[in-house]
């Protein structure tokens, strides 16, 4: 049996292996083969599309393999690309130029690319096949590991007189390299204890020297992970009763009781196909290739971890991606060669900064080492320099990897000034001379993006922010270690290109929103007139700064509201409000408004539903359920708003602030009160959060969500703040949003008590309100906050800026001062007077409003329908006799 590629003109390229490097290969081929010369068939053993193996540990957080998707999924819909999943290739016939898959099907190739990657190595320790022993390489591996730990946790619960107690799960990781430490972090995240067993003298021995290893050990211990160095594991022993792995016996006679073991002792290239096909393999495995990545067979190539290039296999994604680009170039007639590997690495374990690059061990002849160590703080930094102390040969950073991003691209270049300046505290910031990277310096090694490419994104492709540069160049989209540098280059280039990155609000204020916020707060100003007189820009030749505009007025309105200055329609504040805030309703396309009463947590009584329905019916409003779990009533005319709200307030409702840049809703699932899976009362928490933050004005709208268990039915991670119940408390995620550029929120803190949760959210929101830009949602704010989420975490959980008391007080003041905006309007004739349709006919409806019926309700008529006279005058709704100037009750 044989299968042919669907197109006849294109030549057939077979890729064996559907991993990260294969993905890059296909992307590069489809980007560059514009003539369609090649049809690419990818055979993947795993049952899924190539995914982000580098980000594998994220799986424990996201629990959804889709989240690890790489690149644009549309790649696999390309007619010149065929992906065969769950389709292992069993053999190669180089004579016939065919491969045979596991189903016995034979596929012809014109050119063959091996991208089979590596297997996790399993050392020949007796007992390594016991249940509970795992490797750490694929999604299936980590999913099985998670399942095992969760099952063990369940089994370890014991009933005692004091209730259910959970015996801790004891985990061990064999191997103290990059992968082992990541795995240990994952075990901790799963709620298990973790001990790392390292055979060598210190952790991460491949990358860092003994001094760095000592500092690292301290940091790892601080994370609650134990370390046993210089320890060989002799045997894994089964538990007597269960037969599961139960104990590790060490060569030095020591022992460790365990419930789960992760083996992370290295990888073995998957060169079995190459061997069987008679291709040369390296001394330590891997298909031997030349610098064009070609094996001895001119039609067989090898890329990624399976390739033995320059005498070795490289277990990193960046060199593999480079190889993919080389082969694509060659197949399209180019002459590219492999330029040598960038083996820089950075540990991806939250809160533990470790990075190394170049000749980290100082093995170059006559190399000099500069070391800066602060053993107490667990900081160790080392630069390896040429004998004249000028050329940078390598570096190790433990505990403070801040200089890594800017120094790594300088590998092999002369450093400006005294190299010691880069090692001083504060990440080489203060004293270190600014580095101007050459255009060819690699900034993002995962995606092979040079400093020049980032500059070109700004100058030639007109990107005006970091997000644009990321999308355009892919820089910083894989491991993210280079993001600070990408940001810096982008900003410098924008300034140079004369692109206005002035943070001035508008012609009236030279300050950014965050600066203005602080200025107003510190100067204790309370009106727009005072603020513009004090901080406004007086244009040349003018006598005063003018009267603001539609940009700065709502910003000032929001700042005044966040700082607590009474009702938003009080006095001069009313003139600052956008029409939605001014009418306390949302303007729709025909100039009428929609009305949304608050339903905290999406909870509503039958009586409430009836009241809302009756109001909608009486005023002829179109009704729809919103995505935020409440009811929106459309088509309310200005002059109807007070009467509608009088009815709603009487029925016990209050403003839902659907009109404000403020807290909108806290969405919730039904949680433990009804749901059989729920572990906490998510509705109760959602109601509490919504009542706490209602009316809180912010730089943009805010949405929260609370799910009662990890199944996440409330889609909380699509919210600015998402709360997910755990059996120990609450996990809180921040910086998510739906909309045009959906973002999943990232984990801020785990297993918080309810009180801790409120405090963390209080501070997160207040910090955001104080420091975000105008109309900047939390996702880009987190991304652009100096130091990112890690820095935010330090500010709000560790009080690194010493402002937490202030943030807490500000939120307490907000909670204290809350009043229902609509109720206050109904009690104040001056405010009510704003709601007339016409100043000379306050209760006359706009005569141009026109509606047609649709699916049992009304909708605004189109221009054509109006022209054709197809409208129904009755649908405009009832006309009030009294007008909007209701009698005011006390």
């Amino acid at each position: 049996m044989s299968s042919e590629p669907p197109t006849t003109t294109a030549r057939h390229l077979v890729v064996v292996g559907g991993g990260m490097v294969a993905q890059r290969f296909v992307e590069a081929m489809r980007a560059r083969d514009t003539a369609g010369a090649w049809h690419v068939s990818v055979f993947a053993e795993e049952p899924r599309k190539p995914y982000d193996r580098v980000g594998l540990t994220r799986y424990f957080e996201v629990r959804d393999p889709e989240e690890l998707t790489l690149g644009d999924p549309a790649l696999w819909d390309d007619p010149l690309v065929t992906l065969h999943r769950d389709c292992k290739i069993e053999s190669i016939d180089r004579e016939a130029k065919t491969v045979t898959d596991r189903l016995g099907r034979v596929h012809h190739y014109d050119e063959l690319v091996l991208a089979t990657g590596s297997n996790a190595a399993m050392p020949p320790i007796p007992g390594n096949d016991l249940p509970g022993v795992y490797v750490y390489r694929t999604i299936d591996d980590v999913a099985a590991l998670r399942g095992w730990v969760e099952a063990k946790r369940e089994a370890n619960k014991v009933e005692t007189r004091r209730g259910v107690v959970e015996k801790p799960i004891r985990g061990a990781v064999i191997g103290g390299g990059l992968l082992g430490l990541e795995a240990a972090g994952a075990l901790k995240a799963l709620g298990a204890q973790a001990t790392v067993i390292e055979f060598g003298t210190h952790l991460m021995g491949v990358q860092i020297d003994l001094g760095g290893g000592e500092a690292l050990k301290r940091l790892i211990n601080d994370k609650g992970i134990s370390v046993r160095a210089q320890t060989a594991t002799k045997e894994m022993k089964p538990h007597r009763r269960t037969g599961h792995v139960g104990r590790l016996d060490f060569a030095d006679g020591g022992r460790l009781d365990v419930d789960v073991v992760v083996v992370a002792t290295g990888v073995r290239p998957r060169d079995e196909l190459a061997r069987a096909a008679g291709l040369e393999v390296g001394e330590r495995g891997g298909a031997v290739v030349d610098l064009s990545c070609r094996t001895e067979d001119p039609h067989v190539w090898a890329i990624g971890e399976v390739a033995c290039i320059e005498g070795r296999c490289i277990g990193l994604v960046a060199p593999g991606n480079t190889m993919a680009e080389v082969v694509v170039d060659r197949l399209l007639g180019g002459e590219a060669t492999f330029p040598g590997a960038d083996t820089a690495t950075k540990l991806k374990l939250s809160g533990v900064d470790v990075a190394s690059f170049g000749d980290a061990h100082g093995r170059t002849e006559d190399a000099v080492e500069l070391v800066w160590a602060d053993p107490l703080a667990g900081v160790y930094k080392k630069l390896v320099m040429s004998d004249d102390a000028r050329t940078l040969l390598g570096g190790v950073f433990v505990g403070d990897a801040a200089p890594y991003a800017s120094l790594r691209p300088m590998l092999g270049a002369e450093l400006p000034g005294d190299p010691a300046a880069f090692l001083l505290p504060e990440g080489g910031g203060a004293g270190a001379p600014a580095i101007e990277l050459p255009d060819d310096a690699a900034v993002c090694s995962c995606n092979n993006v040079s400093a020049g490419a980032i500059r070109a994104a700004v100058t030639d492709h007109e990107c005006t922010d970091v997000a644009g540069v990321k999308a355009c160049t892919k820089a910083g989209t894989t491991c993210g270690a280079c993001l600070p540098l990408v940001t810096k280059i982008t900003k410098t280039e924008l300034e140079r290109a004369g692109v206005e990155i002035s943070t001035a609000l508008c012609e009236h204020f030279a300050l950014s929103r965050a600066q203005l916020f602080d200025a107003v707060r510190v100067a204790e100003l309370h009106t727009f007139s005072e603020i513009i007189a004090r901080f406004g820009v007086v244009p040349e030749g003018a006598a005063d700064p003018g009267r603001g505009c539609d940009i700065c007025k709502p910003v000032v309105a929001s700042i005044l509201a966040s700082l607590g200055n009474g009702h938003i329609l009080a006095g001069e504040q009313a003139t600052l409000q956008d029409t939605n805030d001014h009418m306390l309703a949302n303007m729709q396309k025909d100039g009428t408004y929609s009305v949304v009463p608050r339903m905290p947590g999406g909870e509503v009584t039958p009586e409430g539903l009836i009241a809302v329905g009756q109001v909608a019916k009486d005023f002829g409003l179109y009704t729809k359920i919103t995505g935020g779990q409440r009811i929106d009533m459309f088509g309310a005319r200005v002059e109807q708003l007070p009467e509608i709200w009088r009815r709603l307030v009487d029925a016990g409702f209050e403003s839902g602030h659907a009109y404000g840049k403020s807290l909108r809703t806290v969405k919730s699932c039904v949680g433990s009160t009804w749901c059989r899976y729920g572990v906490q009362d998510s509705v109760g928490m959602a109601v509490e959060l919504e009542l706490r933050y209602r009316g809180l004005r912010s730089p943009h709208k805010l949405k929260l969500g609370v799910s009662g268990c990890a199944r996440e039915c409330a889609e909380a991670r699509g919210k600015d703040v998402g709360v997910i119940a755990t059996d120990k408390g609450w996990n809180v995620y921040v910086g998510g949003n739906g909309g045009q550029t959906p973002k999943h929120a990232q984990l801020l803190a785990e297993d918080l008590s309810s009180a801790e949760l409120l405090r963390a959210i209080d501070r997160f929101l207040m910090l955001y309100i104080r420091t975000a830009d105008r109309l900047q949602r939390t996702a880009p704010w987190v991304e652009e906050y100096e130091g990112g989420l890690e820095a935010i975490r330090e500010v709000i959980l560790e009080d690194s800026l010493g402002i937490c008391a202030d943030l807490d007080a500000a939120m307490a003041k907000h909670v204290e001062a809350y009043e229902d905006e609509w109720k206050a309007v109904l009690e104040d004739p001056a405010k009510l007077a704003r709601f007339g349709s016409f100043v000379n006919a306050p209760s006359t409806p706009d005569p141009d409003l026109a509606y047609v019926p649709e699916r049992g309700q009304k909708r605004p008529a189109t221009r054509d329908e109006i022209a054709a006279g197809a409208i129904d005058p009755a649908l405009v709704g009832p006309v009030l006799v009294s007008g909007p100037t209701l009698e005011v009750r006390s």
């Binding site: 012609e507 539609d550 003139t575 706009d846």
Partner: protein, 134 residues
């Protein structure tokens, strides 16, 4: 009496003045809509704006970019010292004195509408706002 807009002689020749409301019914730096009648009896909607120094301006209430009668509900401000209003739907900025669109935000007006706003002469006589139509 405050005299505003075009010189009264020029404006009054062809127009009919209508008394609309007391000046005090207008909130400084916010707009208000008025429902008036042309000399031919057709209804006209006018957006009135009272500035900080009691200068009153009138432009068409119809927003040419959205087609809704909403101009009075926009934010009042200044551009280079010139009083302006920003359309509340798509945020175009118009000069209140000339009706010119200063910032279209890359949008074009709906078919059958000009890019700028029509203006109407306004006078405040004995504390009552008058608008000239026709």
């Amino acid at each position: 009496m405050t005299t505003l807009a075009q010189t009264p002689d020029e404006a009054t020749t062809a127009a009919t003045w209508t008394a609309v409301c007391p000046l005090d019914a207008l909130v400084p730096e916010r707009g208000a809509a008025a429902l008036l009648e042309n000399p031919d009896g057709a209804p006209v909607q006018v957006a009135l704006f009272r500035l900080l120094d009691d200068e009153v301006r009138a432009v068409q209430q119809l927003d040419p970019y959205s087609g809704a009668n909403v101009m009075s509900r926009g934010i009042v401000g200044t551009r280079g010292g010139e009083p302006t209003v920003a359309a509340p739907v798509y945020k175009q900025v118009f000069a209140l004195r000339s009706g010119d669109c200063l910032e279209s935000g890359g949008k074009t007006p709906l078919p059958g509408h000009g890019a700028h706003l029509a203006t109407f002469p306004v006078e405040v006589r004995d504390g009552v706002v008058h608008v000239a139509l026709g």
